[in-house]
Symmetry: C2
Subunit: 420 residues, 2 copies
């Protein structure tokens, strides 16, 4: 049996037909190494934006089922074009959309999770020596409706397919050449990591290191699938390997620093201090599929027997959250709701911090020395996050990168914009 390698190319990698031809050559390079190759691609460059614009001209409130039907067409265009490009170089190739593969998801539109991937069709085409090109970001429900996977969807498609076919590894081709100790555009001295553990990558990506979506990393972790984050522009650079526990984790307590500008803070004031109120609040948000990140319940007690509850959510969920809170206002007798858009979450990540005391205090002292006010704090075993004013985020990241001695000799290579 040949080894299978799954490759994923994002929207910027297939933005025009010239780039699609270059991607075809990268695919063929892997095939020529003697592997079976399955490729997962996103929609071309601005396709999704153009489709969203058309939908917006029709209605401000499109049905999720039809949005998924609409948006899924973008990937269907790129798989056909990439397959033609691979064939034009003399290789056997075949395009498959999610329905043709049998990528089954739950019956939730615009952010469905993958339940099951059929292997019959994939095995058949691989046995016939085809390179298989699959539409990322999309799936189908058991009754044949088209779904999309939401943010990080194509990465998740690729990793899930790789896990299903027991691939040797999954290569995520992007416009950076690996995972860095910090965003090189913010910290010019940032170093590329040769390897990183799933858990560290999960924390890094969950705090805005936009290299890979945490869902995809989580899927890789579950199936112990090695993932390489590597550059579309340099085929010889193997990038950063994401895998299990890494050898170097004890060397430095902190592996990377990251900023997340995608969140908004909501403060619900004067929430009645009785059992079940918080559960009611966060239960209502969960019902609308709104993920809550940091939560703090204060004991300020401006009003007797009440608390303030502050929490952060993704900015895109704000309209939904506001309507949930409006509905709750009467039911649970909420006070005012404050919304704070100008925040940044600055995080340090490292599997080594478990065994190193003083990491948290070093972080807080570094920020204090810069007169940066910490609005909220959250911690996990391998991450500490501080919510700060958005205007303080760049200097915070730079100072933390220095404080934890993350700078290296290698110069960062950054091309173009961030991948999808």
């Amino acid at each position: 049996m040949k080894k299978i390698v799954v490759q994923k190319f994002g929207g910027t990698s297939v933005a025009d037909t010239d780039r699609i031809k270059k991607v075809a050559q990268t695919v063929i390079h892997e095939k020529e190494l003697g592997n079976d190759v399955i490729v997962v691609v996103s929609a071309m460059g601005h396709t999704t934006d153009n489709l969203l614009k058309l939908a917006g001209e029709i209605t401000s409130n499109p049905s999720p089922r039809e949005m998924d039907a609409l948006l899924s067409t973008g990937e269907c265009v790129s798989i056909a074009l990439l397959t033609m490009a691979i064939q034009s170089f003399g290789y056997k190739a075949v395009s498959l959309n999610a329905a043709q593969v049998g990528i089954y998801t739950e019956n939730i539109h615009t952010k469905a999770r993958i339940i099951n991937i059929k292997t019959e069709t994939l095995k058949k085409y691989l046995a016939e020596d085809n390179i298989i090109v699959i539409a990322g970001f999309q799936g189908m429900t058991s009754n044949g409706d088209i779904t999309t996977l939401g943010r990080g969807g194509s990465d998740t498609s690729a990793v899930a397919i790789a896990a299903t076919v027991q691939a040797e590894r999954c290569d995520i081709y992007t416009d950076v050449n690996g995972v860095y100790t910090a965003d090189p555009r913010i910290v010019p001295k940032a170093t590329k990591l040769e390897e990183i553990s799933y858990d560290e990558m999960l924390e890094l990506s969950s705090v805005g290191a936009n290299v890979m979506h945490p869902r995809a990393v989580e899927t890789g972790k579950q199936h112990k699938l090695p993932i390489r984050v590597r550059s579309s522009f340099n085929i010889n650079d193997i990038g950063t390997v994401i895998h299990g526990v890494r050898d170097m984790e004890l060397q430095k307590p902190v592996t990377g620093v990251a900023t997340d500008l995608s969140q908004v803070r909501i403060v619900a004031c004067d929430v009645p201090d009785k059992p079940g109120t918080a559960a009611q609040l966060f239960g209502a948000l969960a019902k609308e599929h709104i993920s809550v990140d940091m939560i703090i319940q204060s004991y300020a007690r401006k009003v007797e027997n009440t608390n303030d509850i502050a929490f952060t959510i993704d900015k895109t969920d704000l309209p939904k959250a506001v309507s949930v809170l409006e509905k709750l206002r009467k039911e649970v007798n909420l006070g005012n709701v404050h919304i704070d858009n100008d925040i940044a979450k600055v995080s340090i990540i490292g599997a080594g911090m478990i065994n190193n005391t003083g990491v948290a205090s070093c972080m807080f002292k570094t920020l204090a020395d810069l007169d940066i006010n910490i609005k909220m704090i959250s911690t996990s075993e391998i991450k500490i996050s501080c919510l700060v004013d958005v205007n303080d985020s760049t200097k915070a990241v730079q100072a933390l990168h220095d404080a934890f001695n993350l700078a290296g000799d290698e110069v960062a290579e950054v091309h173009g914009t961030l991948p999808d």
Copy 2:
């Protein structure tokens, strides 16, 4: 049981989001009349051209399977947008691509014929009071490959779906308000016909009256399904009804005049005059799915024991035909091959000509009076076609329209360009 009406809208009718909203209103108008409505749509305006351009940038010789996968995305965009538009007016609607419906075709790419259409999904959604919006032009093979139906595909989808669900009728919305005695852009005095028989419409559309593709008419005829050709711009004009034998057919011997500029004439010279040669020639063309229209075998015998064979095919098939003839040249000892691009086929159509003598001679005399040379002639029971020089076609059509007294009082309404 409610009556089902199937409506088809071409690419110009859904060219932008404003027009899509207008189509939604036309659909809702039919629904409000108390009928169940199934809508079949083409790709928006220039979508197909844009996709063809992208494919052309990748390769000059794309695989038919991938071309079908690529082109089918156009209709998938328009069904989602039209469904959103219908929903935005407060009506239940659902989009379905060919795979979701189960429109099965033969396993031939770029010009597949429909074999079978599943009704389970359609019945389920109609029972839930949905307006169903289906992607025209596409189908799937039994092993899940995407196919397209070729020219006239969306009309064929609509009529085939209407026949399958035993619809009351199929309305083909287009940018002309019916079928005319001649193309009103060529003959300003052309009259709209209130009704026309399937056979007459078949002959009319097969000779270039670009209102409907003959495949769709043929499908309607097989299932005795009434078809209305009507205007997207005037909801109150019921257009022309295509149905069985019409009452008025004995009134005039000729119903309409049409020109077909899509053909090319090929003359294979000095073909050996022995049994089986013609069968070999046309068999080889049929094997490549090239339809041959007019055929004449001359007895000029410039070379002893040979004939010239002249025939016409669609211009798009010319490259394939040339390569077939090249291969045959040695096998059957063909002489030179002449290609004549500058031809037009001018036809008169009418079920009444069966019972009227002198129709053919009137046609030939009319052309002779104008000094128009007739290169080939073909006849059916209800049609006579003459191949003439392309520069003579307009005056030929105008003179024939006069000669057979087809002018009426109604002024032709023509909007925009020809439908797809």
